[in-house]
Symmetry: C2
């Protein structure tokens, strides 16, 4: 089969790899119909040291089950399924609490002998616990929005859930990437009255407005904070979908005392400002890597009936062989989120 | 009147000061019956640079209303009242949300011309919003526990509330000071099933056991974390009642993925470890300075009927003139919490 492999920063190749087969009795083999490139794939694309073997890439995909191991209940060849961006057994104590990202048996695509999602076929460990069946046909127009449930939409939703967004809230979303835009959808879905989107890429913030942002702030740093405070008097909740210290500082500057900041962007820093000033203001810092699996069934009805259309974040489609172009286009910010159709 | 004033680290004096009178129409003048020394008073006691005028000390007191300004509704001379450790109008947007510590008109005793609580008489700003009437006689045996509502008990409660302690939780309380011990009371009151108290002062941890701690861990650092993990497999919630980086590291080491750490000790650090490791584990950092005023009426019934007896943290009483001895005894850890009877 063909699959994308990264050898070093800037070097993604699509090449022939062995056809995945069942290894463990809990595996399934899935033929991908749609995959995508994640904002987090761009970190190694910018910085990964050279590696001889290469790393299979991609962790968001949707496809058709081809084969299941002996211990995979509830799935059969021919089922259309979406995969959350990590696999999980859905039975351990963490999964039972809805924290599938911390699954005791979980792991990441592209590591430990597991295929990446940017390829024709993927062996999925703990398939019964991981994959979610989709009640649509393989040619459904809903596929992009269903694919968004594998990561960006469930991650945006994690931000709204952990921030505790409720009806009437004023919410700031920092970042106009696909996760930030899905966080706008999620904040609106949870009843936020005011949604300020901090971003400066016009096409993206325009989409953010269509998703429910009531205001857009293009200014950054102190100027951005001043503008958000001027517009709102301070926000109740912040969903921080970037991961830089500047984004965190914007969140801290904009949030009201007693408010909550949920982080969705992997922090690009080790230490942060959690000293007496934040303490005296009773600001809560929450969020983290999304337990996507916990949210897919919850959001599925809204995707199926068109209440939310997160698939609109995909603004260009590529064939599998064009995957290197997809990386280039996303890294150069010509494309918001690349859809890959193997 | 006589009152305690700090002039520099280690230098607390009790001296004559002008008798407080009504300055603003929202003031009340309160004659103190009981006051105390706070763990936070020990920070300036250890480090305050010399100051010519001195700083009136104390922010926890209980007493009898002597006089009220023209705009003080609901209070009259003779009323027995307890003061939360900051004053607040109880009407602004923050107070309306129960975040009195951030009151738009609030402030601290001993600053801005307001008396400290360690004195015979105190002018209380925004008295109607600040003071809570107590339905007991001035010689009630409940006075120490009612005084504890001014800070330590309402602060411990803030830890349990913000950590989200619920029935069945395993909770770690870091610190065996008066706030930590009150956090044990609060965690038990919220239904925690397992309460591990991290502390090494035997008399205090024994009191902690009487308050509801099921386990005591005296080890610190990595050894302490290992012991807590061995006992519990990791805790759901942590109430961190110290404020040092070591205490935070213990909290981070002991908490389960997806768990919550509530900080009650003022951080003695500006930067903390909130990088990718904490992010991937979905650990929430919450807590802060307690809005004591918001909790007094909520906890009052439990104090009045003896369900909780936080006054047991007071292990020695001093006269007002002995206040310097009280500081010395607390700084030297001979006394857990000093009660002052003017």
């Amino acid at each position: 089969m063909r699959a994308a492999v990264m050898y070093k920063a800037g070097d993604v190749r699509v090449e022939d790899r062995p056809d995945p087969t069942i290894v463990d009795s809990t595996d399934a083999v899935v033929r991908t119909l749609a995959a995508c490139v994640c904002g987090s794939d761009l970190w190694p694309y910018r910085s990964m040291p050279a590696t001889g073997a290469g790393r299979p890439m991609g962790h968001e995909f949707l496809g058709v089950v081809e084969e299941t191991g002996a211990d995979v209940a509830g799935l059969a060849p021919g089922d259309l399924v979406v995969a959350p961006f990590t696999y999980s057994d859905n039975t351990c104590d963490y999964c039972a609490e809805g924290l599938h990202i911390s699954c005791r048996n979980g792991g990441r695509y592209g590591f430990d002998g597991v295929d990446g999602g940017q390829g024709e076929v993927v062996r999925v460990p703990y398939a019964a616990g991981t994959l979610v069946k989709l009640p649509v046909a393989a040619d459904s127009a809903l596929l992009p929005s269903l694919l968004a449930l594998s990561d960006v939409m469930t991650t945006g939703h994690h931000g709204a859930v952990t921030a505790g967004v409720i009806r009437g809230d004023a919410v700031l979303v920092v970042g106009d990437g696909a996760v930030g835009l899905c966080a706008v959808i999620a904040a609106k879905r949870c009843g936020a009255e005011r949604i300020v989107l901090a971003g400066r890429h016009r096409a993206r913030t325009d989409l953010g407005r269509e998703f429910g942002a009531t205001d857009v702030v293009a200014e950054r740093g102190e100027e951005g904070v001043a503008r958000i405070r001027e517009l709102t008097g301070g926000v109740d909740k912040v969903i921080e979908a970037v991961g830089t210290r500047q984004a965190l500082d914007t969140a801290l500057g904009a949030v009201l005392d007693g408010g909550t900041i949920s982080r969705l962007g992997v922090p690009q820093y080790e230490q942060g400002p959690i000293g007496p000033a934040v303490f005296m203001r009773n600001v809560t810092l929450t969020g983290g890597a999304s337990p996507a699996r916990a949210y897919i069934e919850q959001l599925l009805p809204d995707v199926l009936d068109g209440t939310i259309v997160p698939g609109r974040v995909f603004d260009r489609a590529f064939s599998l062989d064009q995957t290197p172009d997809a990386y280039r286009a996303m890294a150069g910010r010509q494309v918001l989120k690349a859809l890959i159709r193997p």
